[in-house]
Symmetry: C2
Subunit: 511 residues, 2 copies
């Protein structure tokens, strides 16, 4: 069957019926949330275990179990490998890995896939594991790719059942109260951990910084935690603390960033109360910086920034350009430090950020977001998962969520990357449907989704072109893009944030 | 059947089978938490309703519905009466009221009981409504009395299903993010509201202080909230802000308080890391003050105080005598102010405080608590619900929870109140079982539960007497206490915090 994004979707995958994507807000869910087990830890009982191995035993991980992790430690994370290595040593097979995201540091997982220890993945794949999976035939079932909000929804609704969640924490007490704010491995907000902690059958806090009871701030509460394991290190601070993010130096990207701010101004949304979602890419950082400068100059006070938070956003809070930061993921040391000391920099979960099957998520309240793309097509569909060679190399992140929720969703995309057109007739993979994308800003002009007549009317003074023109220009410069040779087998399903099937990713047989 | 507290318990009440109390930690629960409905509030949808009436209509309150409230506004609360009055005007009957507690200010509920608007109550009754219910025959089924932790457990497990929770908030935004920390009606921690917000079918935030989005700190998250109603006033600040609490002036009570501190010192628990639960009664305040003086003098640094928080505890935090405050209920302005500004004064829920069917509640980590009583018996059972005339006049509060969790549970009780013995052969009502009570401190000596041989050994230097001696002394002074004439009908069931039946309260026919 063909879904509302025009993509062919199989009826079922791995024995599970698929619901085709039918528009961003096509249904309201029935029923109740998936409920966690009743627990009982009585006075005098200890939750401290001596090792990861003991935690695996105590939580009953066995062949076929699903285990989850968050990726706040990014490419410095040591916990995923630590746990899966130990599972492998214990002879356990057929694990479903449900991390929020895997990074290059998790390359050893490839061996565990080859050995049958890991046979399914629900989670974002950034880098080598995605490339490996793209070869086809590696896992028992396709990888399920979900947005940050979509994953939270899947967990809260029971679509993704987690047997054991491992929550890495940079500070924890022996009862499991924990956060990512304190300690040498501090990574800031623990936004990804909440859904897992609140819905998994068993929850293990893994920390390298066991502190006296009670640890505060309490990001994840003791009431959700079964066990606590202290390890020498949860990760490499060099990989965790990404340091100050670098703004793009490319003149064309800087121009695009300036044009985004100009577009918002022309569209009339840059006024007191303005809110936006910030990102950490080089061009996104430039937009944030230029927004800051514009707002400060005009005396505009914004309401909040949701993030992916960086020092660029912290600067806006500190000089009063915005009133609040809502932080589900802190990208640099300035963000970590700010959340620790400034009560107006408030930690939130990814349930709050983007789970659309709640009483309303934060993205719904964003006036604007500006997001990247590997490809954009003439229907405004955006690809962020695969490259034009078909390789699965990135997760969805909060892309779907921000696009669907924000009043104005801008995609920042150059016409070409190298000699490869970014604006094309049809994206290789639909990660975010064109229904939720309003504007594409390139170095050669701005295209507005025809759906947004209101915006077209408002920004008449800008260099607005049709998306088809941008596409033609790209083709005239680099030729009609080459298509990868794809296999028949699906290596991944792109799930929309409401749980429907948006697209599939096929194996790559050549380029 | 007779339960483990020696009380006769009927097999069932109002069609529901009762499980008899069988000891404080007699079972671990099976199954899963009660899950809230999946919600969906999409971009552009508003949660703001124009009136309480509209909220009643939108949430579908009808004959037989269960509605809940928290009592952080105490005797200043205007929300319970506001909602029930409107329900009555709309002709809706047969409501189950599930407040955390009702106060004298809620006396108008009596008329609604008479008119059949309210026919059942799950919640604490303080004062006139309790007295009214004690007459017998007023409600369709007995009142269910639960401790703070027990109520949270009942809601989280589904024993107490809430159709609509009304959450009074002193600051909220139009999406329902709210707290009790800010605004003219600020009452501090919103600890009681969490369980209701997280498990009710529908959640309505009622505020007199609608602020721009997003309100932080977020005590109750937008994700749980269906509707927001702004009203002119959620309550009378004179009743909400109880002002600075008054310490007892009675020389004998002050002596008792000093003896509690001496007891803790002799028992060897007054050392670095000491933790306790604080209360707000005149004698409890004295104990807190004397603990503060003792610890400061000896250079002891405590770990945390759980409360019911007052300025007396805040003082301990501010001069470094304790490291943290965990606050589920703020009793005075100093507490409200401290939680607002001091990150080491951390808000927690009553799930975290005392729900024993979680991954461990805070009371489990308390070294000590000191609690009041209307009566104590020679089996160390404690009554806090009824007076010796049998009248149901008080809730359980956190009494059961603190007693079960703390390493040393002290009951502060005078031998007599007026001419009525407080220490007696058998309490009129068992609110907290003697299994969980360690020490009774009176003005005429200290009795230790024989179960605690360790304590008896440690405090040999103190004036320790048997509880029977205290009882005999009380009787010798005032005679064997008179018993109230009780009717056959049960007006209330005292539920233990694990959901079992601890005792029943009968109607009062004379004294």
């Amino acid at each position: 069957m063909k879904n509302a994004a025009g993509r062919e979707i199989p009826d079922e995958i791995a024995g599970k019926k698929l619901k085709p994507y039918n528009g961003p807000f096509s249904f309201k869910p029935q029923g109740r949330q998936y409920s966690p087990p009743l627990r009982a830890v009585f006075p005098g009982e200890s939750k401290i275990l001596g090792s990861i191995r003991e935690a695996i035993k105590k939580t009953g991980i066995e062949n076929g179990s699903t285990i989850s992790f968050h990726h706040h430690l990014r490419n410095g994370d040591a916990v995923v490998n630590m746990v899966v290595d130990e599972i492998a040593k214990m002879g356990i097979k057929d694990i479903t890995l449900a991390p929020t995201a895997l990074f290059p540091v998790h390359e050893p997982i490839i061996e565990h896939i080859k050995n049958g220890v890991v046979t399914a993945i629900h989670g974002s794949l950034n880098g080598p594991i995605g490339a490996f999976v793209s070869e086809g035939g590696k896992l028992k079932e396709p990888v399920i790719l979900r947005s940050h909000g979509g994953r939270a929804r899947a967990i809260c609704s029971g679509d993704l059942h987690i047997d054991v969640a491992f929550i890495a924490a940079s500070a924890a007490d022996d009862y499991g109260n924990c956060n990512g704010s304190l300690g040498d491995s501090a990574f800031g907000a623990l936004g990804f951990g909440y859904a897992d902690a609140m819905h998994a059958d068993k929850v293990v806090v893994v920390t390298d910084n066991l502190q006296p009871y009670p640890v505060t701030p309490i990001s994840i509460s003791q009431t959700f935690v079964d066990y606590v394991v202290e390890v020498p290190s949860i990760g490499d601070p060099g990989g965790i603390k990404t340091g100050t993010m670098q703004i793009t130096k490319s003149p064309s990207r800087l121009m695009m960033a300036k044009n985004v701010v100009k577009f918002f101004a022309e569209a009339g949304i840059l006024k007191d109360g303005f809110s936006f979602q910030a990102g950490a890419g080089g061009t996104s950082l430039a937009v944030t910086k230029f927004l800051h400068e514009y707002m400060r100059e005009k005396g505009i006070t914004g309401s909040f920034v949701m993030g992916g938070i960086t020092g660029f956003v912290v600067n806006m809070l500190e000089d009063g350009t915005i009133k609040k930061i809502l932080d589900a993921q802190s990208f640099d040391l300035e963000a970590v430090e700010s959340m620790r000391k400034n009560p107006d920099h408030f930690e939130v979960s990814h349930i709050e950020f983007g789970n659309m099957h709640t009483g309303g998520c934060i993205v719904n309240r964003q006036h604007a977001c500006f997001l990247g793309a590997t490809e954009v097509d003439i229907d405004f569909n955006v690809n962020v998962n695969t490259h034009s060679d078909g390789m699965l190399l990135h997760g969805i992140g909060g892309h779907q969520d921000a696009a669907a929720g924000s009043d104005i969703t801008v995609i920042l995309a150059p016409l070409l990357r190298g000699r490869i057109p970014v604006i094309r007739k049809e994206v290789t993979t639909v990660s975010t449907p064109g229904d939720t994308v309003d504007v594409v800003v390139t170095e050669r002009g701005i295209a507005i989704n025809p759906r947004r007549e209101d915006l077209i009317e408002k920004v008449k003074n800008m260099n607005v072109v049709s998306i088809e023109e941008l596409y033609k220009k790209a083709v005239s410069m680099a030729g009609e893009p080459k298509k990868p040779k794809l296999g028949e087998d699906m290596v991944a399903v792109v799930e929309y944030r409401d749980g429907t099937a948006l697209d599939t990713v096929r194996s790559v047989k050549g380029w």
